[in-house]
Structure formats: structure tokens, C-alpha cells
């Protein structure tokens, strides 16, 4: 069975807040759900499938389903870190194709900024984690896991800090047009490489923003989608994969996207060269470079050259990416960027991105995410969407 053409995204909503000290996480989930349903022209009573990950408060989906007053026949709480919501779209399409639900709601929300949960804070995932005794004593935080990948990439392939900086430059060039973006300054390569070093070789401006906020998506079958008033954005292919340490045969030169990507492109029957717009998870600049290589937008090791000189800037480069400003400048609620990646891809395919960054005749887009720790163990989701 394939999910190609079996489901459409008919609602997409990015919560406008970036700091919400007076809102609860459940409220942000609910406000995001309302926004996406309104965008689709549907209401909560239409929802019969719900998808969330561990940013949802409480045990799995139980608290949020109760809070929202949903009456479901399908639930899925797949957790692959920040890429979860990309995987949720694929799982929603599978459930719809199998007749398990008709209207799927996916939500994400968090208050990481108000709760000061940034990338230099040790994560506590609780007891019984098998790998934790052999990693936690060494000061593992989010940023140094990604830094170890960047350091190795520079060693193996000669990638430079200036090349990585171009990724931030491109995101910031786009973010200036987004009135909700957390950072709206346009940065130069010099700004990035002269910003404080956080964990060699990643500088402060190689990192994403820390924001409160949320987002939601509505996925449904094409017959229902055609009755709604929104442009048709159809799921064409999807892939998912998890990569760990392979029992100590650690190889930081590639990510799980090297597996999820080809699966998605094969299902979609398209090639990287066919893609008009790319949403690429950007927790750090290196995250983008790794995924671009692993999806096949350039050869392994050539990512530095590929992203340099504005190649990711809409209207300038060959591959416009993260035209909302991405996690690097716009928004990274709950420290999880997968939701906003899908939302901006939907905007581009509908022709609803900001006019300054809208890709002309955008018909095929990829939304790609890496969640967890890229240098230790992580999950990847690849989603190929088309305007039809």
C-alpha cells in the first residue's frame, strides 16, 4: 500500500506568539487546533483522529483529547523528537488510507522560552534510560551533540564556519519579512562567525531561537478536501528512520535522513532536483547541511559549497529553504521544529507565503526533520507534498 495521493493537508496554523508566560501548554495546543480547524473550515466535532507527541501535557494523548473534548476513533502518539509532526502527517495519511479516520488533527505546543529550556541545559529524560550512564556524566547538552557532528564534518570534508553561516544568512534574509519572527535582523556571514562560541564550532548564531508557541495541521481524504475551500496540498510520499550509535560503530558523517529521504522520494516518484521549495529542520546550521546532503540535494561532503553564496535564499538561489525564517530566526516552539516545517511548506504550495519569498509556481515541496540528538540518536521524517 502507498499513501501517495491518499491524503491532503487542508488546515495549517502557526500560533503567532513567541512568548506566552500567561498561557498554559494545553491552551497553546488548543488555540493552535482552533486555528488549523478554522483555516480548513472545520470544527472540533469533525475531528476523528488525533496525533501528538510528548510536548502534549499528561499521559500520551489522554489529557489533550479530554481537554479538547474530542470524540475519536484513531489516536497516535508517535515520538521521534522534533521531527514527530512530519511523521504524524505520514501516519495520518496511512490511517486515512486504511479507513481508520477521516479528519486528523496534529498539534504541537510548548513554553520553552518562558521555562528557560534552551540548548545548553542538560535534558533529563528520567531513569532507566540505557545510554544515560555512559553519556550524562560528560556534560551532554543539545548543542554539543550537534557540534560533534559539525566538527567531524569539517575534519572529513573541509567544511568551514563561513559556509555554515550562510545557512543563517539565508534564514535571516527570509525572516525580515515575517512580522511574527523572533529575530528579524538580516545577518551577515561575519555576524555569525563573530557571535560568541557556544560549543566549537557552533556559534550563538548557528543556533535556533528558543520560543513559546505552537502549531497544528489538519489532514483529510482527497474527497473531503475537494469540498473544502482551500487549495489542495496532497501527500505524495513519506519516509521515517531512526539512527543511533550502531553498538559503538559511530559514524557522524550521515543522519537518518539518508534512509528516510530515499524512501520518501521513491514513494513520491520524484527526485531532489524536482523540488521547488524545501523546509529543512534547522535546530542548528549543521542540521540543515547534513540533511541537504543526505536527501541528495548535493553530494556527501559538498554541503558547505552547496549552501554558500545565497543558494538557499528565495529569489536568488537554486533551493529556496525555510522562507518563514525557520527555527534559526522565526520560531522553534517546544524546541521542536517539525510542525513549522510542514506549515511553511503548505504556505508555499498554496501560494500564501510572504510575496517577497513566495516561490513562483511552487508545485512540489519537501518537509524534512531531524529530532533528538543528531550526534547520539535521532529520528528523521521526510514528507513530500504537492499542489494538485
Amino acid at each position: 500500500m502507498t499513501i501517495r495521493g491518499k491524503a491532503c493537508i487542508v488546515g495549517a496554523y502557526e500560533h503567532p506568539t513567541r512568548k506566552a508566560p500567561d498561557k498554559t501548554v494545553a491552551q497553546l495546543h488548543a488555540e493552535s487546533a482552533r486555528g488549523a480547524l478554522a483555516d480548513a473550515g472545520l470544527s472540533l466535532k469533525d475531528v476523528d483522529g488525533y496525533f501528538c507527541a510528548s510536548d502534549a501535557p499528561g499521559l500520551g494523548a489522554l489529557s489533550m483529547v479530554d481537554y479538547l473534548g474530542l470524540n475519536l476513533r484513531h489516536v497516535d502518539t508517535t515520538e521521534t523528537g522534533g521531527s514527530s509532526y512530519i511523521v504524524h502527517v505520514s501516519h495520518a495519511a496511512q490511517a486515512i488510507a486504511a479507513g481508520k479516520c477521516n479528519i486528523a488533527l496534529i498539534t504541537l505546543a510548548g513554553r520553552t522560552r518562558s521555562e528557560a529550556q534552551g540548548g545548553t541545559v542538560p535534558r533529563n529524560w528520567g531513569p532507566n534510560i540505557p545510554d544515560s550512564p555512559f553519556e550524562a556524566p560528560f556534560g551532554t547538552v543539545t548543542v554539543n551533540s550537534y557540534a560533534l557532528v559539525a566538527a567531524r564534518h569539517m575534519h572529513e570534508f573541509g567544511t568551514t564556519s563561513e559556509q555554515l553561516a550562510w545557512i543563517k544568512v539565508a534564514a535571516s534574509t527570509h525572516a525580515q519579512y515575517n512580522k511574527n519572527a523572533m529575530l528579524r535582523d538580516v545577518y551577515t556571514v561575519e555576524d555569525v562567525v563573530n557571535s560568541p562560541m557556544i560549543s566549537d564550532p557552533l556559534h550563538r548564531l548557528d543556533c535556533c531561537v528558543v520560543t513559546d508557541g505552537g502549531g497544528a495541521l489538519i489532514v483529510t481524504r482527497p474527497e473531503i478536501a475537494r469540498e473544502l475551500k482551500r487549495p489542495l496540498v496532497t501527500v505524495r510520499g513519506a519516509g521515517e528512520a531512526i539512527k543511533g550509535q550502531d553498538g559503538g560503530r559511530i559514524d557522524l558523517s550521515y543522519t537518518a535522513a539518508a534512509r528516510s529521504g530515499p524512501i520518501a522520494f521513491e514513494e513520491a516518484g520524484v527526485k531532489p532536483g524536482d523540488i521547488d521549495y524545501a523546509s529543512i529542520y534547522d535546530s542548528f546550521t549543521i542540521t540543515v547541511l547534513m540533511q541537504l546532503e543526505d536527501l541528495g540535494f548535493c553530494e556527501k561532503g559538498k554541503g558547505g559549497r552547496f549552501v554558500a553564496d545565497g543558494n538557499l535564499i528565495a529569489g536568488q538561489g537554486k533551493l529556496p529553504f525555510n522562507t518563514d525564517g525557520g527555527g534559526l530566526c522565526n520560531n522553534h516552539p517546544a524546541n521542536r521544529g517539525g510542525m513549522t516545517k510542514v506549515i511553511e511548506a503548505v504556505r508555499q504550495l498554496r501560494g500564501e507565503a510572504h510575496p517577497a519569498v513566495q516561490v513562483k509556481d511552487c508545485r512540489l515541496a519537501v518537509a524534512q526533520g531531524i529530532g533528538g540528538l543528531m550526534g547520539a540518536r535521532h529520528g528523521s521524517g521526510t514528507l513530500i507534498l504537492e499542489r494538485s
Binding site: 545548553t120 550512564p133 555512559f134 556534560g139 557540534a147 560568541p196 560549543s199 550509535q245
Partner: protein, 133 residues
């Protein structure tokens, strides 16, 4: 200006039943790793079931403690001291996470030879760190 290594408070590892011998050996400054009697391969981190072949015939063996740096990053803004987090590849072939200590952290390079040096954790057993040879 060099970034000389400074001791920092090391989070105590959780000691689980399946890796208790590892931490007992650490108290004697011995680095143990696991090998599979069925497929003869080493694995890291230590577990009871071999991740390469699924056998439960795994055994503890002493590692030489000699290694080379596979990747290293000096984390400068997470806590009061800078520290070098690294992956090092042991002579036996497995790669493990650690810290590189007792040196100018700014001089560390991928490929450098290092040797194991245990450091006390905060209320727990010593943990395996590495210093340049």
C-alpha cells in the same frame, strides 16, 4: 589565550544492574568493555544482549585504554567551566563518548592519541575520561 582544563562537578552515572561490573572496575581505574562470544565483536555502551547479533553470550573484557579522538567540541557556555566533550575510538574498535581532560582544550584535534584517566563523579563511581598521550 589557552583554555586549560578545569575540574568540574561530574553528574554521577546511574548504576544499573547490567553494568554494575563496569563501575566496580572503574573504582580500580580499569576500563571494561563488552565482547560477544558468538560473533566475537565488541560493542559500546555495554549491554547484556549483543546489538550486532542478538546473542546473550556477552562477556566483560579489559580494554587497553588507548584511543584516538573521533570528534571533539569544547563546550564553552553550558555551566561555569569550559569542557571538551568527545567521541574517542578505542584500540578495540568501539567509539565512546567522554571528556578530554588535563590539557589546553584549544589544542585538541581529531586523530590525537589519548589514554583513559578516571575521574570521580559527584556521589557516584569514577567515570572514564581521557587525556592526551
Amino acid at each position: 589565550m589557552p583554555t586549560m582544563h578545569q575540574d568540574r562537578t561530574i553528574t554521577a552515572p546511574m548504576v544499573y544492574p547490567d553494568s554494575a561490573p563496569f563501575w566496580e572496575a572503574a573504582k580500580e581505574s580499569r576500563l571494561l568493555i563488552k565482547r560477544c562470544r558468538d560473533c566475537s565483536q565488541f560493542h559500546w555502551y555495554p549491554r547484556t544482549i549483543c546489538p550486532h547479533c542478538g546473542s546473550d553470550a556477552t562477556e566483560w573484557v579489559a580494554a587497553s585504554g588507548r584511543a584516538t579522538i573521533y570528534s571533539v567540541s569544547v563546550t564553552r557556555r553550558a555551566g561555569p567551566q569550559a569542557y571538551a566533550i568527545a567521541y574517542v575510538t578505542l584500540e578495540e574498535g568501539v567509539t565512546m563518548m567522554t571528556n578530554i581532560i588535563d590539557c589546553d582544550l584549544d589544542t585538541l584535534r581529531i586523530g590525537d592519541a589519548v589514554t583513559v584517566a578516571f575521574r570521580d563523579s559527584d556521589g557516584g563511581p569514577p567515570v572514564p575520561m581521557f587525556r592526551p598521550v
